[in-house]
Every structure is written in C-alpha cells, then in structure tokens.
C-alpha cells in the first residue's frame, strides 16, 4: 500500500467475508439478550390489563381489588400519564385514558413480586366499557360514514411531511401528480387494472419483546430492553413523561431479531410507567408469544388499486394507484409507510405520467408499524403482478418488458428527483439468466405444474430527512481498537460491518477491533434508529469518519515526533510506517501514552479518540398536492428476484423449488453476510407468500400462536437459493455501499405469484397462497375438479 493509492483500490478487510464478530459468543450461549440480564431479588414483574373490545369508551376503572392483593407493589392507569408519544405523529398515550381502540390496547399495568401474582391482579382490575362501532376495513374507514376513531387528530403533534385530515380517519394522505395520467390512457395500447388485498402479518422475531425499567428517586429512568432504537426510545419516553432526555438511559443488549417491531416505542413505555410507581425497584415486562402476535407492531394490511398502461412497444405510459393502508388503532409510525409507498409508487420504472393517492387510515385493528420492507413488499406484490399482466397483454416477455422500462441513472423519478446510477438492468439480466428464464422444465410428476416468475423492486431508506449517525473509535493500551456505535446488531451484522470499516479506515487487522456492547445511550454515540437498511451506509459513514479522525491524530503525532511529513506516513497492519525514513512503530506504543520528543524534551500526544458523524443534508420537502420536489430520498437500492415453483394439482400446495436474488448493494462490505441477508429475506418473503396472515375477525385475532400462524420451517425451504451481488457504487456511501437488509423480501411474493400464474394460468389474488386457497382457485377456474367426499 502506498499513500497515493488510486481511489478505486479498496483496503482490506472491505469486501472480505470476515467471520461475524458476535458469532462465537452466540454459538456458545454467552451472548446476552434482554431476558438474560440478572436484576437480583428486588426485581418486580409487570403484567398489562388489556382491552377486550376493538373500540369502546372507558367508563370506569376500579383497581382497588388489585391494589389489595398481597404481593402487588403498584397498579397504574392512564390517569397518571397524560403525555403522548409517537414517532411521526403523536397519537398514543402510554395507557388508554378515555377510549380503547383495539383488542389488546393497554388500560392498566401491575407490578408484583411474581408474574403469577401480577397476572392475578390484572384479573382483579375492573373496567367498565361502552362499546362503540368499529372500523375493520381501511377503505370504509376512509369514508365519511365511518365512525371517527381519533376525534383529536387535529390537535396531535405531527412532523411537517405528514398530512392528516382532522375529522376523518385519514392520518396521512400522500399524493403524487406527475404528468397527465388522464390524457395518457388514450395513447395506451394496453391497460390493466387490478385490486389487491394484502393481509396483516407479524414480524415474529423468535425473541419476544422484553423491557426492564427502573425509575430512581431523582426521577432518572433506566430502561433495558429489546431495542432497535435506543435513542428514539430515549427521546420519545422523555417527551411522553415530560422529562429531559438526559434523565433517560436506554441499555440495549443483543436483539433476537427485530424486522422493525422493536423500533420506535411500544411496550417499553408501559414498563417505564409502571416502574415510576415502584420506588426504585426494577420492573420487568415480557410479552407472551400470544401478546407478541397482536400487541406488538404488526405489518399493516393494505387494499391497493392499480391501473397501468403501455404503448404497443411496451413503454409504460401511465400509472394510477390508490392505496388504503390499514394503519390500525394508532398510526404514529404507519403514516410514513403510507408516504414511502407514495413516493415509490411507480415501482422501479420510468413512467412519465403517475397519479397516486396513498391513505393511512385508522382502524380498530392492531397497531401497524414498520416491518422489513416498510410498505414495499405490500406495494410490489400487486404492482409487479400488474407489470406481468401488462406484458402479457401486449404479448411481450415479462423480462423484456422490465428491461425496456426499468429505472436508469438520470431518469426523472415519480417525485421529480433525478435517479442516481443504478444496476437494476444488470440485476434483471443476471437473475433471468440464473433462473434459466424462458426454458421450460417438465414437472416432477404428472399431477404437478411447474412455472417460473420474476419480479423487480426498489426501495429507499424511509426516515426523517436528516436522520443521523455518529461513532467513536478509541485505541486501547495494546493498540487494539474499540468502536462505539449507537446502531444495533439485530442479526443483520452491523457490528461486524462497523469493525471492518474501522479496521480498513484506520489500518489495523480486523481482529484488533472490538465493538462496544451493549448499546447504552449514556455511552454510545447517537444513532437515529436501526431501521430502513440505513446502518451500513449512514452509520458506516460515521464509523469510517471516526476511524479516519483517529488515524489523522496518530499520523500528526508521529509526524511531529519523527519530524516528518504526514504524507510520508501510513498505518499498515497496526504499525505506523514512514515511506521516507522507513521507520516503523506499533500503535501500542502510541495509543494511550503518546510519544517522547527527541532528546528527552518531554511528551506529545495522549489517548487517541476519533469521532465521526454523518447526516444527509440534501433531502428536500415534497409539495403536498403533487408530491414533487428536488430530492425525495437519499437513494434507492434496486434488485430482482426470480423463482421456480411447482403446484400440486391434487392439493394446491405450492413448492418453491429454487430462488435467485440479484441486488445492487453499491459495494458489498462483507459479501457472505450480504448473501445471508438475501437468503434470509427471500425465505421470509416466501413464508409470507405461502403461509402468513393475521386472521382478524371484528378486530379479534384468531391465530395468535405458532401453531395457527405458521412461518417457514426447514421443511419448506429450497436449498438452491442463489444470491447475486451487483455493485454500482453509491456516491455518498462508505466505499460505495448502500443497504440491502430489507430489500430481499420486497419482490418475493410477486415473483412467486407470477410463477404460480406461469404454472397454472391463475392469478390467485390476495396472499398467502396457501394450498387450500390455490386449490379452490384451481377448482373455480375449472383446472381441477373438486374431489368427492
């Protein structure tokens, strides 16, 4: 390595598939998760009294019997907590005060010496309700006939890019008006129109939510928990309680899967509220698996109406979309999913005329929140099936159709933003080739039909425009390096990426780098949230900057001590070297104690501590009427998935035989970990395509267990999942990187639906494509005869 290396060369271990830094402690059972922390005999246990009604007024709460139960230490209700919370729209109280809005809405909390006593006390709390008419369909909810669930919507605090409609259930209406859709239809050679209903699903991390809260005599709050967002939790809890952010400390150990449901604030605030009445004793709240299914964030349901048309050459001319998001009882987070699906509503295509109305609608369903993909899997499920239909309508191959229309660098996007360079067409070609597109393969048995399907996607990080990151890089006595970040490792590998980037930017071996855990808002540098697939890019920039800062400090110090120029110095493998004098010194001799000046003239230096931050400064607002503006988002990650499936004519069972994913990640910092994300996302997407749906009946969840809500197991997955990395660099990404964690489940449902169509010629409609549903669809279409008996 020379000091003047060409900009294109990438230092190790960037691009190396190093082993995860947390792998060993996870395989020996030593990695600590929230439920594993020990709090000693003073620990109290909380349980929550929840609403049995989807919509009702609270007439009376009597906690006296619960208070009197031996072993009960505190009973709290909404009366003591008037403050509101919410990320983009502050529409929730910690506990309900006058009204409940979903089955499971918290009305009171108990702390007791055991979980059993807490549960018993919850039973003793008497609540009198006056049931009200509910809203269980977002399209109905958006009409003027629907009962208004949040009469105070107009008074809620809201971020300036969200547009609620007070007096209705619409908590955000995002519009796109690009070109002239109405004029364009007449020029179309083919038009397709389809409606899709996407069910609610659950994230189901294998680790349920846990929060342990302690409020000391000075009112200082400490919260340990399963958190993707320690800093957002600190902020929102401080706001809800009306206290200073500096009086809230959130400590977040390893997270056993998040997928969005551990972002923002949900059950954590309940634990804090209960603990505020237990005189300094810590209180633990742990959701049961059943509670996990309906009281944690769910992925919102959606009703989507698509209309799109193209000319005879297959060029997309117009799209018109209406999205009704079933935001649930509170839409503090969901309002931004509505916005994200609006500003990406063309899909990854260059379309001159687009009209979109995306509505976030309050319903009496579980609370919608962020889930892997943030609206994009739901939207692409319908959109990418329509693209196939349109290709079919003009008798064009679906891959060719996508090739003609897919978004390219320089295109004017649906918001007016100019697209950056992107590798979508490369992804398309590579995925099609890998799945042997166009080659028909005979089914494995006479009662089976085989088909292939493909779908493209794009997704931008959906976040506040100025969501930021920071990092610290400190050297230890032996020259090893401690990287501190505020972004969480929820399994996606962000700690390993941080270590790789610090090693590369500083010039030390990867095994010299440690990442400081657990995250602790008192000691970890600020990070907005671990969401939006933004850490590799945003936190990565901060880590690289912090490591470069440390490097600069070291080089300045050595230059002074050796009386050399910084340009002649370098750090390689943990040693500072001079290309001029050929001197070398190990970092361990510099890191803490500095260096002696020549001739015993004293010392210079001191502990090396690098700092770095990153905040995108260029995202602009969008016009409320048209959704147009110079720059809607930071960037888009694009990609394609293709699958081959077999449908059993006797049972309707869909078997995914193989899958291919190709995504433009800018630069793969750790290629094997990138591929692991692509595989994991593919299987999660496949699971939602084939099995998953929260069955809600008048607001009551019918299947809150793993037996009734099935997710993919080892028996369902194809071994043949190919992951293809495409690298068109991101101009402001560290070494060109951008995120890919969520993207890998965005096109999966559509790809599988398109493959099912290829196999049996039927559009099954709303996912999941369960054996029963597919079978009945085949009967309906006359493809098979219903079996007797």
């Amino acid at each position: 390595m020379t000091p003047n290396q060409p900009a294109t060369s990438v230092p190790h271990p960037i691009g190396d598939s190093v082993t995860r830094v947390d792998a060993k402690e996870k395989v020996i059972g030593a990695a600590l998760f929230s439920d594993d922390l020990q709090f000693g005999p003073g620990l109290l246990y909380a349980r929550i009294k929840r609403s049995p009604h989807p919509h009702a007024l609270i007439k009376r709460i009597d906690t006296s019997k619960a208070q009197a139960l031996p072993g009960v230490k505190a009973v709290v209700t909404g009366e003591s907590f008037p403050g509101m919370t919410g990320l983009y729209l502050q529409d929730r109280h910690i506990f309900c005060r006058d009204r409940v809005r979903y089955v499971g809405d918290p009305v009171a909390g108990v702390a007791a010496v055991s979980e059993a006593i807490a549960e018993q006390a919850v039973e003793l709390i008497e609540v009198e309700y006056e049931p009200l008419q509910g809203v269980f369909d977002p399209e109905f909810g958006a009409t003027s006939e629907a009962p208004v669930l949040h009469p105070d919507l107009g008074k809620y605090k809201v971020q300036n890019f969200i547009f609620p409609k007070p007096g209705t259930n619409i908590s955000n209406h995002f519009r796109i008006r690009k070109g002239d859709v109405d004029a364009a239809w007449s020029q179309c050679a083919a038009i397709v129109e389809h409606s899709y209903r996407i069910p609610h699903i659950q994230h189901v991390p294998i680790e349920p939510h846990v929060a342990v809260a302690k409020v000391d005599e000075n009112g200082k709050v400490t919260l340990w928990g399963t958190s993707q967002s320690p800093f957002a939790q600190r902020n929102l809890i401080a706001i809800a309680l009306g206290i200073s952010q500096s009086d809230v400390e959130v400590i977040a150990p390893y997270v056993g899967g998040g997928f969005g449901c551990k972002a923002g604030v949900s059950m954590e605030a309940l634990a804090v509220a209960v603990a505020s009445k237990t005189k300094g004793k810590p209180v633990k709240l742990r959701l049961t698996r059943e509670e996990e299914f309906y009281t944690a964030f769910v992925r919102q349901g959606m009703v989507a109406h698509f209309k799109m048309g193209c000319d005879a050459q297959g060029r997309l001319l117009a799209m018109q979309n209406r999205f009704y998001w079933d935001g649930g009882a509170y839409t503090e987070y969901g309002v931004n999913i509505t916005r994200a699906s609006g500003y990406s509503s063309s899909g990854p295509y260059d379309v001159p005329n687009v009209k979109t109305d995306s509505f976030c609608v309050y319903t009496n369903h579980p609370v919608g929140g962020p889930m892997r993909g943030f609206g994009m899997p739901e939207m692409h499920t319908g959109l990418e099936q329509c693209i196939d239909e349109l290709a079919l309508a003009i008798e064009m191959d679906p891959v060719q159709f996508r090739r003609i229309n897919c978004v390219q660098g320089g295109d004017t996007l649906v918001t007016g933003m100019t697209m950056h360079p992107t590798g979508l067409s490369e992804c398309l070609d590579k995925a099609a080739k890998a799945i042997d597109w166009g080659r028909k393969v005979a089914p494995s048995a006479p009662n089976k039909r085989r088909g292939k399907g493909i779908a493209a996607m794009w997704k931008a990080p959906a976040m506040s425009p100025n969501a930021s990151s920071s990092a610290k890089v400190a050297l230890n006595e032996d020259g090893t390096v401690t990287v501190s970040v505020g972004g969480q490792d929820i399994g996606q590998g962000s700690f390993t990426i941080a270590a790789q980037m610090a090693a590369a930017a500083l010039g030390v071996p990867i095994d010299w780098v440690r990442v400081a855990t657990p995250l602790d808002t008192n000691y970890s540098p600020y990070e907005w949230q671990t969401v939006a697939s933004r850490l590799t890019w945003s936190m990565g920039n901060a880590v690289a900057a912090a490591a470069r800062d440390a490097r600069q400090q070291i080089l300045e110090l050595v230059a002074k001590a050796w009386n050399e120029k910084i340009e002649d110095l370098d750090i390689v493998d943990g040693n500072v070297i001079s290309y001029k004098s050929e001197e070398t010194i190990s970092l361990k001799n510099i890191a803490i104690y500095g260096l002696p000046l020549p001739n015993d003239q004293g010392w210079i230096g001191g502990p090396v501590l690098g700092r770095g931050n990153f905040m995108p400064t260029y995202v602009t607002g969008l016009n409320a009427e048209t959704g147009q503006g110079p720059r809607a988002v930071v960037h888009y990650t694009t990609g394609v998935q293709a699958v081959e499936v077999e449908v059993d004519l006797d049972t309707g069972k869909v078997q995914v035989l193989r899958g291919v994913g190709a995504f433009d990640v800018g630069k793969a910092i750790n290629p094997e970990m990138v591929k692991a994300q692509m595989e994991g996302g593919f299987v999660q997407g496949m699971s939602t395509a084939l099995f998953e749906s929260l069955q809600l009946k008048e607001g009551v969840l019918q299947n809150p267990s793993f037996v009734d809500y099935r997710i993919a197991t080892t028996s369902d997955v194809p071994m043949d999942i190919q992951s293809i990395i495409v690298e068109v660099p991101q101009d402001d990404g560290p070494w060109g990187a951008r995120g890919v964690g969520e993207h890998s489940m965005v096109p999966t449902v559509a790809a599988i639906a398109n493959a099912i169509y290829d196999a049996i010629g039927i559009r099954v409609g709303a996912p999941p494509y369960s054996a029963e549903k597919v079978y009945l669809a085949m009967v309906d279409a006359g493809l098979v005869k219903e079996m007797e008996g």
């Binding site: 598939s17 082993t19 995860r20 947390d22 792998a23 060993k24 996870k26 395989v27 020996i28 059972g29 030593a30 990695a31 600590l32 998760f33 439920d35 594993d36 020990q38 994230h203 189901v204 991390p205 294998i206 680790e207 349920p208 390893y254 997270v255 056993g256 899967g257 998040g258 997928f259 049961t288 698996r289 929820i490 399994g491 996606q492 590998g493 094997e672 970990m673 591929k675 692991a676 595989e679 994991g680 996302g681 593919f682 299987v683 999660q684 267990s705 793993f706 037996v707 997710i711 993919a712 197991t713 080892t714 028996s715 997955v717 194809p718 071994m719 999942i721």
Partner: protein, 159 residues
C-alpha cells in the same frame, strides 16, 4: 408452594436444586442455574428456542417439568464446547454464516447435536426433519442445514 429437592447432571456437573412443582426445566436452567444460553421464545412448545438434551434426546425444555428431571443428564448449549474447543456443529454454523441474531442458535445446535449423536450420517431430509421444530426468522435455514452437513463430515473425519 411445595419445593422438591432434585439432583441431576447439567453439562457434566452434578447439581442439586429446590424447585416448585410447576417450574419448567427451562425456568430452572435459566433462573436457578443461571444458564441463560437456552432461550424462551414461546413457552408453549412451538418454537424450539428452548431445546436441550435430556438423556440424549432433544426436548423443548419449556414443556418439561423440572421435577421430572430427577437423575437426568441434561446438556445445554453451554455444555457443547469441550475445554474451549467448539463442537463441530458450533464451528460449522459459524463457518457457514448460519448465525444472524443468534436467538434460535442454541436450540438449533442442540437439535443438530442430538441428531448427529443418533445418526452420524444424516441425509438432507433427516436434517430437515430434525430441525423442523426449531424456528428461525433470520437465516432462511439453508446455511444451517449446510452447517449440519459439514459437521457430520468433519465428525466422521475426526473419528
């Protein structure tokens, strides 16, 4: 609440524990013996995160009462590595990138170890069947199945 005094072997160590009648093996391991490597994902026998070996069999420890384990030989994830050397399934799952969040990992590893003990040369279908009760939401399973295949090979080479 009546306490029962039980004796058993956990990860090769002799243990004596006083347990209430309703306490599950999972609770005993986590709360009485501070072996928190074994995870609680559902407490209902549906996810496999709590899998441990009891007398060589992989079981969901949330579905077993502690009192039933009088005299039993229990192995948890903490007992897989010997003298600081990882079990071949632990090493293989690292090599194959089969760990993401790591919450399912302890249960997966125990199910895999129990399989390899009774069937040192499992087919792919044997592996799928042995792990079908261990839910993983992160990895998509492929790398885990491959890791068990590699562990079987490695183990054969060692013996």
């Amino acid at each position: 609440m009546a306490l029962h005094h039980i004796t058993l072997t956990v990860n090769g160590e002799f243990e004596q524990v006083d347990v209430p009648s309703q306490m599950t093996l999972l609770q005993m391991l986590r709360d009485k013996l501070a072996l928190t490597g074994t995870k609680n994902g559902c407490n209902a026998g549906e996810c496999g995160a709590c899998t441990v070996m009891v007398d060589g069999e992989a079981v969901n420890s949330c579905m077993v009462l502690a009192v039933e384990c009088q005299g039993a030989n229990v192995v948890t994830v903490e007992g897989l590595a010997k003298d600081g050397v990882l079990d071949p399934v632990q090493q293989a799952i690292i090599n194959h990138g089969g760990v993401q969040c790591g919450f399912c990992t302890p249960g997966m590893l125990i199910s895999a170890r129990a399989l390899l003990n009774r069937n040192p040369e499992p087919s792919e279908d044997d592996i799928r069947a042995a792990l079908v009760g261990n839910l993983c939401r992160c990895t998509g399973y492929v790398r885990i199945i491959e890791a068990v295949q590699e562990a079987a090979k490695r183990q054969k080479a060692l013996n």
